[in-house]
């Protein structure tokens, strides 16, 4: 059986089929959670962000512009929600929660766990918008154009930000003895 497209589910949602949205939740909750967790590090906050993304997307479905891809729109909300959370978090000190490092698969060897924790630590040292661009490019495998659409940036700016974010990340990783 052919898998139904996002557009089809969105159309069904708009015509009142709420189950269709469940299918979109099922399809993208893992992806959005992984964007969020790389952005905010804390797994509880990432779950909050993920929930918020889907609620906001649902509420805004009527206004969703069909010219864009549904998943790009979800990514955009996810990045914005993560940035909002991070700016709120700045107001409170010492709020480190359940670190993503603690969520790393137990099946991984110690070296891998340590490396991934260092990568996450280095990511958190980047500016939020730099982190977003790294996550979208390297962990979600999106193109410059898709990232531009999500972050509302021209492709040229995406590239320059990505390149400088990578440079900063390399420096942080080097200090941590990784890479």
């Amino acid at each position: 059986m052919t898998e139904r497209s996002d557009e089809e589910f969105v159309r069904q949602c708009r015509s009142g089929d709420r189950k269709a949205y469940d299918a979109l939740v099922e399809r993208y909750q893992r992806t959005i959670y992984n964007v969020a967790i790389r952005m905010v590090r804390d797994r509880d906050d990432a779950a909050d962000v993920t929930q918020s993304v889907f609620v906001k997307a649902y509420e805004g479905l009527a206004k969703f512009d069909d010219r864009f891809k549904f998943f790009s729109w979800l990514y955009r909300i996810a990045v914005n929600e993560s940035l909002n959370l991070l700016s709120q978090r700045k107001r409170f000190d010492g709020l480190e929660g359940v670190d993503v490092a603690e969520t790393i698969d137990e099946g991984l060897d110690d070296e891998t766990v340590e490396r991934e924790a260092s990568i996450q630590g280095a990511l958190m040292l980047l500016k939020s918008d730099q982190r977003a661009i790294i996550v979208l490019k390297h962990m979600q495998g999106l193109s410059y154009e898709e990232i531009g659409q999500i972050m509302d940036l021209p492709v040229k700016r995406v590239k320059s930000r990505l390149f400088s974010a990578r440079q900063a990340l390399r420096d942080h990783l080097r200090k941590k003895g990784v890479g």
């Binding site: 949602c13 708009r14 015509s15 009142g16 709420r18 469940d22 939740v25 909750q29 893992r30 959670y33 992984n34 967790i37 804390d42 797994r43 509880d44 906050d45 779950a47 909050d48 993920t50 929930q51 918020s52 889907f54 609620v55 906001k56 649902y58 509420e59 009527a62 206004k63 929600e81 959370l85 709120q88 409170f92 010492g94 709020l95 480190e96 929660g97 359940v98 993503v100 969520t103 790393i104 698969d105 490396r115 991934e116 990568i119 790294i134 490019k137 390297h138 962990m139 495998g141 193109s143 410059y144 590239k159 990505l162 390149f163 990578r166 990340l169 390399r170 990783l173 990784v178 890479g179």
Partner: protein
């Protein structure tokens, strides 16, 4: 190495080059040690990042999202309807009755429950501004660590809502008990626990949640009197370890 060549090498690592660019990259790598070093570093970084493992979301997350979304049942209007309404409103300005119904709809949409959320043990004083979007009220949290027993409870209420979202992290030594005065609060409904290992006991004015790991349930508590509150206790083998009173009505 100039900016143009850096750009070229960056694009090459991202797989965003044309055949002509690729030939240029090859020539550049052949003649410049600095370019080779830079390219190798970028490639290593790219591999490092793309090799980072995905994290499994919490098992209950999809259900939690669905509950929050469908709790939010603001009807989805097709775009054509929105435009039709706008056009209609130009011809027939909205009456106070229309404004009233929009306001009432907003209130209904605000009456939701949302989700429960696990609070790490060291975050008991964290305001809930960082939690999911529509949570208006603060999260009230209590945590305890006694011997090898530990637990954490986070209770969120929505502004104007009668529902409490309760999320708990428990180990075997801890039971979470929510107690309230049935003459002041009616327990209208309960959902959860969301994980199969959890158990829920409901008695007159008492709801107890036990289990291991993350447990979550949602209580629809309707206050009958102003200032009604629910007491949340963490119960260990030796009795009540911590207690906090959480108002559910303003």
């Amino acid at each position: 190495m100039d900016a143009k060549n850096r750009d070229l090498l960056n694009r090459d690592v991202d797989g965003a080059v044309t055949d002509t660019d690729r030939q240029q990259v090859q020539r550049l790598l052949k003649r410049s040690a600095e370019a080779r070093r830079f390219h190798a570093e970028l490639t290593r970084l790219s591999r490092l990042l793309s090799g980072v493992a995905e994290v499994d979301p919490p098992v209950h997350l999809a259900n939690r999202i669905r509950a929050a979304v469908h709790g939010h049942d603001a009807p989805i209007q097709p775009r054509t309807h929105i435009w039709r309404e706008k056009l209609t409103s130009l011809v027939h300005p909205p009456t106070p009755l229309r404004y009233g119904s929009v306001f009432a709809g907003g209130l209904v949409a605000g009456l939701f429950l949302f989700m429960t959320f696990l609070q790490p043990l060291d975050r008991s004083s964290v305001p809930d501004s960082a939690a999911a979007g529509t949570v208006v009220g603060r999260a009230e949290s209590i945590t305890v660590a006694a011997g090898d027993a530990s637990g954490s409870v986070r209770v969120m209420r929505l502004g104007g809502s009668s529902e409490l979202a309760v999320r708990m992290t428990l180990n075997r030594g801890i039971v979470t008990r929510l107690s309230f005065d049935p003459s002041r609060i009616t327990l209208k409904g309960i959902r959860g626990p969301e994980t199969p290992s959890g158990s829920l006991t409901v008695r007159e004015g008492v709801v107890e949640l036990a289990g291991t790991g993350i447990q979550a349930c949602t209580l629809d508590l309707v206050p009958r009197t102003p200032g009604a509150s629910v007491a949340v206790s963490l119960m260990g083998a030796e009795g009540e370890l911590l207690r906090k009173s959480i108002p559910i009505a303003d």
